[in-house]
Symmetry: C2
Subunit: 385 residues, 2 copies
Amino acid sequence: MTGRPIIAILGGGQLGRMFLENALRYDVEVHVLDPDPKAPCARLAHRFVQGRFDDHATVMAFAQHAEVIGIEIEHVSVGALEELQRLGKTVIPDPKALRIIQDKGLQKQFYAGHGIPSAPFVMVEDKAGLSAHAHRLPGFLKARTGGYDGKGVMALQPETDLATVFEGPYVLEENTAIALELAVIVVRAMNGTTVVYDPVEMVFDPRLNLVDHLQAPARVDERITSEAKKLALRVAEALASPGVFAVELFLTRDGRVLVNETAPRAHNSGHHTIEACASSQFDQLLRVYMGWPLGDVHLRGLAALINLVGVEGTGIPELRGADDILHLPGTFIHLYGKAETRSGRKMGHVTVLADDQSALDQAIAVSKVHGRVVPARTTSERNEA
Amino acid sequence: MTGRPIIAILGGGQLGRMFLENALRYDVEVHVLDPDPKAPCARLAHRFVQGRFDDHATVMAFAQHAEVIGIEIEHVSVGALEELQRLGKTVIPDPKALRIIQDKGLQKQFYAGHGIPSAPFVMVEDKAGLSAHAHRLPGFLKARTGGYDGKGVMALQPETDLATVFEGPYVLEENTAIALELAVIVVRAMNGTTVVYDPVEMVFDPRLNLVDHLQAPARVDERITSEAKKLALRVAEALASPGVFAVELFLTRDGRVLVNETAPRAHNSGHHTIEACASSQFDQLLRVYMGWPLGDVHLRGLAALINLVGVEGTGIPELRGADDILHLPGTFIHLYGKAETRSGRKMGHVTVLADDQSALDQAIAVSKVHGRVVPARTTSERNEA
């Protein structure tokens, strides 16, 4: 490519914004498509187009001038990506890999077909079909398509009223006795070279079914670390696609490592790499797009990531506690610039770097106690308070 | 401030772009004013206004909605900044400090008045006046106002033809026997707290009179380091203004440290802080604007910065050697997104981090040999080649 290459990204949320932040260091031009005119990337991309990334014609029109097309969300028009690929454009990830990942049923069959261990499962067409599998409950129910951020996923008990369950088709997974959830980011270049970040350990908030915080590296022994990285690498190799892949894994109570699911994009579990590594997941993605050598994934020390999730209702977001958090030396705030905060919505995150666990724990605690994104109070409300 | 504060920056070049890159991590809104519609910040700021930052009315109209007004270049309308300050807005740096710094004559008098050591000088009104100071030559001649990036600065020899000299008024400095040039970045918060980065050592390219590369920390003994930091701090305290200040210093051959000049903004000599420190000079500036605690200035290791200067003429910029540079683990490329490359123009830089001098030297050499920004060749030119 000569001059300024154009990278077109489907989706303009926080992942796109963090990609953009890093891409600004290079002389590339980033175009973004998102249905929300107030998306975090709106007014920051070189070119922002309001439109649906799951609409074939919209994606084709949007991406026609780009050399490289990427995604920051899975729910996009794969048909359009396939057509763009046929036109000779670089599409990352490969649409074939995206078709597999978009459907959690195909994804599970794919793991099984490649001898990659994951929890036992059955495919179920609809609610009527679920009754036939009552003997498998309690289990874990996932919508085959369309799930996101804890939506389209639930624990299914024998006594659950099926009227409260989302629509199928489903994957019904056996309840696995989980000790820990891990995630591994793998990066695969167009020439097939790969790099793998250290596993991170995810701590969930059971109320919101969202990651509460994560820690890197995961506090597991060398055998588990090595097994987790090996499995993540096998997933990327089996998908045979360039890109950044976040492989979520379970460590079972009997010491096995299973693949849970894979995201074919930058992921919440890799945000700490912005400060904790020389090359972040977003920088790697740009290197993949540009055909540059992959970057250094070495962890600088212990790292933690605390999501800043909206509390106290809906409104213009306002961060409380920035002073307390920024007062600590190894603590970094990221806010995603969303137009509106809502309870449970990911509004930003805090990254913490530390040399030892007690310093890390302290900074996590400060960030969790003080860091709160709330609806901004108007001047009149403040005067009344 | 509730909701999303607006920061208005006068100037939209590479300093503004690197500020923007960091500011994207927070939920602030950045507006940029620059006369060049293709400036590096155009199409990346939340709002970009094409206009002159040295025009009073243009600056007033541009900044009327902002809470905070900052600069990325000195040559702005100080009158407008003073008026904005009177309107109750936060203006950083303080316009009083900017008035002193904009005029190199006032700046020299200011150092003298505060007992801050700098090279002996005289003020000279015009070319006719220069003849009266022939006995002081060779000396160093500076235009009192308007100089930038090696323009408005020259060595003046007894035999120099005055017809070739830029117009006055001037500061004529005594030729100081310089061993080394250093720079220290100081950050001063609105509440008067300060942090000081380690001194960097500047290596000049004598042909272009531009920094060729810099190294941090400077290879000088503890006494010199401490003296340089103390002087830089005294400058910021004497200016009594919040902001980021780059204090350029001379280490003389007889071991004295003298202040050369001060820039009241982020500076080329601090770009390595993006990767080499937890909090970069651009992050500190945002913290100053927002009234947040200042960040950690600790250096992670040895760092070097190599400017990528345009070569081989004018045209659409194209970086050669990205592969060779990015192949090294501790090496980071920054391109400023300028529309046109010209010989001698700063088009980007490479930052190198290393644990020892020989690894640093090697990466500097690779970056200098392979990293070249040239005019992009058209397809037809490539076919002919």
